[in-house]
């Protein structure tokens, strides 16, 4: 249940920040911040950040593409891939969700490690020291 809440918060936050603010990368800050408040394994946290942002980006892109009859996404697919194939714009919705998801996931992962660093890091907690060593390897 708490996991679902984390996803919903990231998705909702990403949507609202994207919609009302100018800086495109604020969703990553949101994913990071939300993940500070949720305990869990790094991998699951990444998954939740991924799903949260992918949902916000994917559904919004899907909605725009539907209203636009795919006029622009088809052209943009051609532009990105330098091909002349039409009708491939739907693929960009998946790519949009994927890219947003990966960035959101990494932000959530960073939030998760951040939590361990700030909140879970108590003296004598072996697990946390191990994590700190692991983290330093990753960064």
């Amino acid at each position: 249940m708490r996991g679902l809440l984390q996803i919903v918060l990231i998705a909702l936050g990403s949507f609202l920040l994207g919609h009302f603010m100018d800086n495109w990368w604020l969703f990553a800050v949101c994913s990071f911040t939300v993940s500070l408040f949720f305990k869990g394994r790094g991998f699951t946290s990444f998954g939740k950040g991924f799903i949260g942002v992918a949902l916000a980006w994917g559904i919004y892109a899907l909605y725009i593409n539907f209203k636009n009859d795919g006029v622009l996404s088809d052209k943009m697919f051609q532009l990105f891939t330098s091909t002349a194939d039409g009708g491939m714009g739907w693929l960009l919705i998946l790519i949009t969700a994927l890219i947003g998801g990966v960035i959101g996931g990494i932000a959530a992962l960073a939030g998760n490690y951040g939590r361990r660093l700030i909140i879970d890091d108590k003296p004598g907690n072996m697990r946390s020291r191990k994590n700190r060593r692991r983290k330093s390897r990753y960064l």
């Binding site: 495109w24 990368w25 969703f27 980006w57 919004y60 892109a61 209203k67 006029v71 890219i99 947003g100």
Partner: protein, 784 residues
């Protein structure tokens, strides 16, 4: 994490300068440019400085009709409407005209920028502004327009930037009066930059004046000039007598020779008008179709402007106030390019390598210098110097070859259009177009009261003799232009007995015109128009529409009967025989579903290359196609037909046979011979020419450059308009492209199919105090 976001937000150099994460984000990136309704615009807009409310209604052809309570508000609204549909385009063109592309594209655009500045376009626009500033009407019109454009820009958030800004990774900048001046100079450069001086001088170095006369210097025959032959020119002038050429022309170095402009002109346009006696309804009918590059966003924007004392419909160039081609309830007008040579080239003698002083009348005169700065993106600022002499503008890159060019002279063309928009009759029309200096245009006119007229209008230098067709030694003030042809002496005709007038870039007059002039005249379309309009019949709107998309190729009808008989004794293989039969049975229509036009066009090109190889080897412009065919008839044994570097001495028959065989082999190598429409493969390319995803390609269309329907592969009738004047105005129009400049809108290219098929939209022309019947979108502008 930070690194990932950092890189996802960085440009990928150099091919795609945009940031992938930012670009893909549905909140800031390209998705935001996908139109989710007809017009993603607010219904009410507050604009500072507006005096009263303005209503904007888009009709079912996506044409906005602006109704304002005064002219100031009218032009604010026009600026706003055009910016909201075409912001990127107008910004991009004005930056290109100013030679400022390297500011957004980086070092790769520096050479382009230098070329633009060296033409003097930015300098000339700044000069023109000095003249515009003292004209209250012109200045207030330009300022109001800029206010409207900037109101739109200022309300834009980053995610709303047109998509090209996102792809090229830059931001819109405020619009200024200077930018409009730049746009008009840019058109002047596009339409009035042709000259043959360098080519001709080079020709004289290699050949002689007899051949010069033979190839280049014949007055066009079998032509239908713009001013009906027999029209009397009731003025005299002392100039215009043919004098002998100077014995010695300046010698040109190889680098100087490369300064010649493009070869055979591809520019063109048609316009014509029939008076009451030639019209079935008894109302004058006016037609105009300017031929320009086929680009997206389209070069034209269609709209109606209404305010007290102002009610005009037509097309405008994004970036310019007023209507450029159109009509009001009293008059209609259309334009074609005059093609007149308004350039003279001089070899200036400088005192030393600093280019600070030059010789004139045996004295040293100081050079006026101007330093052009290029603030290259992600790089240092580079400078280049322009040198101004009485003989014109030169640069170090031009190797002291100076160019005298009327396009650089201060003028106020905007007032020509502003006054045309408000003209009520023939007298107003003539007064209005006198403001048009560059580019020279053929204005055709019709009024609701049944008057028709045509005038070749522009600022044209007086050429006292043939010397100005060549590069001249610039050291004596005798060699300077002695003045300009008075506007009232420009070729003009009104209400002719025959009941029709037209222009198609042909020579403006017959040989009785007292002034000398030259230019790369189009020799074919005028004959077809004259044949059709000269027929013993009257016309209605539908017939005029059919005429605008007429595909008859006068060039083919002239050339084929001359060259085909030379194949009579040729032994042909199967492929050659079948190509021959296709040509033999052809009705000279450039129909998209025929193969004969494909064979003919290719053959003519091959023949030209073989026949005039001496020209191509020496980088000279070959004679016009029309002149080539005349020569085949006049001098079938001209030694120049020989192909240089072959053992044989080729005669005309041999080059015709060889070019035919080569054509058929070439066309069959690629498989089956393509139908004309497929061969031509008309494409509207995006203004950048670098984003094929935003092109509209593979259009199979009829017509050819030498047909009235002059649709080529990347060039063609950019706007077609047919207007019947009378108590009620009936008008039809179409242009290739769409009203929106946004590739993410269905209105970006929705008119192309209709345009390619020769169909029209019926114009909804609103009288004062009337409303659009079925608006698809409405907007109100209110004072802040």
């Amino acid at each position: 994490m930070a690194a990932i976001i950092f890189f996802a937000g960085r440009p990928i150099p150099p091919a795609l300068p945009f940031a992938p994460g930012k670009m893909l984000s549905p909140f800031t990136g390209f998705w935001q440019n996908a139109a989710t309704s007809n017009f993603d615009l607010p219904n009410e807009v507050k604009i500072e400085g507006l005096k009263d409310g303005v209503s904007i209604e888009y009709d079912k052809n996506e044409v906005p009709h602006i109704t304002a309570k005064n002219e100031h508000d009218l032009f604010v609204a026009q600026g706003y409407v055009i910016a909201s549909n075409r912001l990127w385009q107008m910004d991009f063109i004005s930056r290109a005209a100013a030679g400022r592309m390297s500011e957004i594209l980086g070092p790769i655009a520096l050479n382009f920028d230098k070329g633009q500045r060296r033409q003097g376009l930015l300098y000339a626009s700044e000069q023109a502004m000095e003249q515009i500033k003292i004209d209250d009407v012109a200045m207030s019109t330009l300022s109001a327009y800029a206010k409207g454009v900037n109101a739109y820009i200022n309300a834009l958030s980053v995610e709303e930037y047109p998509i090209e800004y996102k792809i090229l990774n830059y931001a819109p900048e405020p619009w200024t009066e200077l930018k409009t001046a730049l746009l008009l100079r840019y058109m002047g450069n596009m339409l009035a930059s042709s000259y043959d001086d360098v080519n001709n001088t080079r020709f004289m170095e290699l050949f002689d004046s007899t051949l010069f006369d033979l190839f280049y210097n014949t007055f066009p025959v079998n032509q239908a000039p713009i001013i009906p032959p027999g029209t009397e020119f009731n003025f005299n002038t002392a100039v215009g007598q043919r004098q002998a050429l100077p014995k010695k022309l300046p010698y040109l170095e190889e680098e100087q020779y490369s300064l010649k402009p493009s070869e055979r002109s591809i520019l063109g346009s048609n316009n014509w008008v029939v008076g009451p006696e030639k019209s079935k309804s008894g109302n004058a009918i006016l037609c105009s179709d300017p031929h320009l590059a086929l680009n997206l966003p389209a070069i034209w924007f269609e709209m109606q402007l209404t305010a007290p004392g102002y009610n005009c419909y037509g097309v405008t160039l994004p970036g310019s106030p007023a209507i450029i081609i159109g009509f009001n309830d009293s008059i209609a007008w259309g334009v074609t390019n005059a093609e007149r040579d308004v350039t003279d080239i001089y070899k200036v003698k400088f005192k030393d390598n600093t280019l600070s002083e030059y010789e004139i009348d045996s004295a040293w005169q100081t050079v006026k210098k101007r330093v052009e700065k290029f603030a290259i993106k992600d790089s240092t600022t580079v400078t280049d110097t322009l040198f101004f002499t009485k003989f014109g503008l030169t640069t170090r890159a031009n190797r002291t070859i100076a160019r005298q060019w009327t396009v650089l002279d201060p003028s106020n063309e905007l007032m020509a259009f502003y006054q045309l928009n408000k003209s009520k009759n023939l007298a107003d029309f003539n007064k209005a177009i006198n403001n048009m200096h560059s580019p020279g245009q053929n204005f055709v006119f019709a009024s609701a009261s049944g008057d028709i007229a045509i005038k070749q209008q522009g600022k044209f230098p007086i050429n006292t003799d043939d010397r100005s067709r060549f590069v001249q030694e610039g050291n004596s003030s005798d060699d300077l232009w002695s003045g300009f042809i008075p506007m009232e002496h420009n070729p003009y005709a009104e209400n002719p007995e025959r009941g029709y007038l037209f222009s198609a870039n042909q020579n403006p007059t017959d040989e009785t015109y007292p002034y000398k002039y030259w230019g790369p005249w189009e020799r074919f379309r005028n004959r077809r128009i004259d044949d059709l309009l000269g027929a013993e019949k009257q016309f209605n709107i539908e017939e005029m529409q059919q005429m605008q998309v007429d595909n008859y190729g006068v060039q083919a009808a002239f050339a084929l009967p001359v060259i085909m008989p030379y194949l009579d004794s040729l032994e042909m293989n199967e492929a050659e025989q079948s190509a021959y039969d296709l040509l033999k049975d052809w009705n000279y229509n450039f129909d998209k579903d025929l193969k004969a036009p494909t064979i003919f066009s290719q053959w003519l090109d091959e023949l030209d290359l073989l026949m005039w190889d001496e020209f191509y080897i020496n980088k000279l412009n070959p004679p016009s196609v029309n002149r080539s065919i005349e020569l085949m008839l006049e001098i079938p044994d001209l030694p120049m037909y020989d192909v240089v570097g072959t053992k044989d001495t080729e005669n005309l028959r041999m080059v015709i046979e060889q070019s035919f065989k080569k054509t058929v082999t070439g066309l069959n190598e690629a498989g089956e011979i393509k139908n004309w429409g497929k061969e031509k493969n008309t494409t509207f390319s995006h203004l950048t020419n670098r984003l094929p995803a935003f092109d509209f390609a593979n259009i199979h269309s009829s017509g050819c450059r030498k047909c009235i329907n002059a649709t080529g592969s990347s060039w063609g009738p950019s706007w077609r308009m047919v207007v019947e004047m009378g108590d009620e105005i009936t008008a039809y129009s179409i242009y290739g492209g769409g009203q929106s400049g946004n590739p993410g809108s269905s209105f970006y290219n929705n008119r192309i199919d209709k345009w390619a098929n020769g169909q029209y939209n019926k114009v909804e022309f609103l009288k004062q105090n009337t409303k659009v019947t079925q608006p698809i979108f409405s907007q109100n502008l209110v004072a802040k």
